[in-house]
């Protein structure tokens, strides 16, 4: 059965996050609670969300004796340039935009003390200062070179599946707030998805961040009903969800079918978090 390879340190899974850093990411989300200068930009929300995702991916692999490399992660920004936002500089690691989570854990850009409310173990709560890692800061400038970003991801996917031919295939999560300014991304997406491992073709999931107050269209299974051509293109670019991600989506209360695509249109910050949670649940760890 495809998409069932067990994830282990010998067969890790690669997550590639493609982040739109175009100028429009300076704007707040549509329908944001705060308005004007007080509203955080989409770039700020995205950076916070992805930094938190990286933290959670590391914590899923962390044991008392260290971090086990079940995951390798690339974060690629596309806007003013197309480039990896994190890189490993650990001695002994091959230089790559795909960074093992143990290296990521050891090399945050900085640790920020943040107060977190947690259980006191006796039925109450207590405020504790937690050292919170940050790997990259928000950036928003120029156009939306999505095709170049997809090509960059394709190169990483090709190299990855040569090294791990039997592993769960790479998962690419593309987060954008607008249309590509460097061509038709559908062809580049199809090219990316044509590579894969023995366990299945690479997965490409897309989320569109909202400028409007329209409710999100989450994980659709039919192109009919999508509001415009841009939404239909992103739908066509997106993979159908493998069963483990369908299970994760159902656990989030979503109605899912065998045709459900890994795609959210008009995502608000909550929908973005849920999209990333589902998209990074390829299988149980071993």
């Amino acid at each position: 059965m495809p998409y069932s390879a067990e994830i282990s340190r010998l067969q890790p899974v690669a997550f590639l996050l493609l982040l739109d850093q175009s100028a429009s990411m300076q704007d707040p989300f549509g329908g944001a609670e705060q308005q004007g200068d007080a509203a955080p930009s989409k770039a700020r929300v995205l950076a916070d969300t992805v930094n938190r995702l990286l933290q959670n991916l590391i914590l899923r692999c962390a044991k008392e004796d260290g971090v086990r490399d079940y995951f390798h992660v690339a974060v690629i920004g596309y806007g003013e340039r197309v480039d990896a936002l994190i890189r490993t500089d650990r001695e002994g690691d091959a230089p790559s935009a795909l960074v093992p989570v143990s290296a990521l854990a050891d090399r945050p850009l900085r640790l920020e003390p943040r107060t977190k409310t947690m259980s006191d173990g006796r039925g109450g709560t207590v405020a504790r200062v937690v050292q919170t890692p940050v790997w990259f800061d928000p950036h928003a400038k120029n156009g939306t070179p999505m095709c170049q970003a997809l090509d960059y991801a394709t190169q990483l996917v090709r190299t990855w599946v040569d090294v791990y031919p039997r592993a769960f295939p790479p998962v690419v999560l593309n987060i954008t707030d607008g249309e590509a300014t460097d061509g038709d991304p559908l062809r580049h997406a199809q090219q990316l998805r044509s590579y894969g491992s023995d366990d299945g073709e690479a997965l490409l999931l897309n989320v569109h961040l909202s400028d409007s107050t329209e409710p999100p269209v989450s994980f659709p299974d039919d192109i009919a009903g999508l509001p415009d051509e841009f939404a239909r293109t992103l739908y066509q670019m997106s993979s159908t969800l493998p069963f483990t991600m369908r299970a994760a989506a159902e656990a989030e209360g979503l109605r899912i079918s065998l045709d459900t695509r890994g795609f959210v249109f008009n995502a608000d910050p909550t929908a973005l978090v849920r999209f990333l949670e589902i998209g990074t649940r390829p299988s149980t760890l071993r």
Binding site: L59, V130, A251, T284, R286
Partner: protein
């Protein structure tokens, strides 16, 4: 003198891992008239799971009476949490956060008692009673005359999901998901306990549980190795067999 019950145990790490990384644990306490067995399965995505699983089985097997799972867990939670709290100095950020999250494990506690004829004041070889308590998916198999009488709390491979009920190491960890079952054993019966991977595998094929339980203890690791190669989940395995001797 021949004993009334024989206990065999196996704890096997995931293929490719060191035994010191195994997060399944077993403890057995045997007295003249009773046996208490505890099997725990530490959660893969938590830290300190191995230590927590070991702490739980020790506490669960130390109490001799039936129906003591909750008391045993409460006795384990306080010292474990205290030690974990005390260890939180100069840790990398991710270990500190995992320590604050605490550890999780599934647990099954089985207490088996030999029947006593109170009038005669002696054993008469008629079997006895068992009492099981569980949180999560560690599974009990009751076998008799080459038949599986019952598997509990999970009876089908599809009952094993990725989010079983678990016991948290925190002192206030909820224990409202404890399940209990009573039964009677006869001489010649076997009671087996297995963690999720082996349990799901044994329930997936006709008579697999019967055939596995009938094998010598020394064959188990080899059989599991072959099963893993053929698709059984590569997870830690704990397996215990109690064989009740014929009089």
């Amino acid at each position: 003198m021949k004993g009334w019950v024989t206990v065999d145990t196996l704890v096997l790490p995931k293929m490719g891992q060191d035994p010191t990384q195994c997060e399944d644990a077993v403890a057995v306490r045997t007295t003249e008239r009773a046996v208490v067995v505890a099997v725990a399965d530490g959660a893969t995505e938590a830290a300190y799971s191995r230590a927590w699983a070991q702490e739980l089985v020790q506490a669960a097997s130390n109490l001799e009476e039936a129906g003591k799972l909750v008391e045993a867990v409460r006795q384990a939670q306080v010292p474990f949490s205290t030690r974990l709290e005390a260890s939180q100095t100069d840790l990398p950020w991710y270990v500190a956060q995992k320590a604050q999250q605490g550890a999780y494990a599934a647990l099954l506690r089985l207490r088996v008692k030999k029947h006593i004829d109170l009038d005669a004041g002696e054993e008469i070889g008629r079997g006895g009673a068992w009492h099981a308590e569980a949180v999560g998916d560690v599974t009990l198999f009751h076998l008799r005359a080459s038949r599986l009488l019952r598997a509990w709390p999970n009876a089908l491979p599809s009952d094993f999901g990725t989010r079983p009920d678990l016991i948290h190491s925190g002192a206030a960890g909820s224990l409202d998901r404890v399940q209990q079952l009573h039964g009677a054993w006869q001489p010649g019966d076997s009671l087996c306990l297995g963690t999720d991977a082996i349990a799901a595998h044994l329930l997936a094929g006709a008579d697999r549980a019967v055939r596995f339980a009938a094998r010598p203890r020394g064959d188990w690791a080899t059989v599991i190795g072959k099963a893993r190669a053929e698709g059984m989940k590569n997870d830690d395995v704990a397996f215990v067999r109690l064989t009740f001797e014929q009089p």
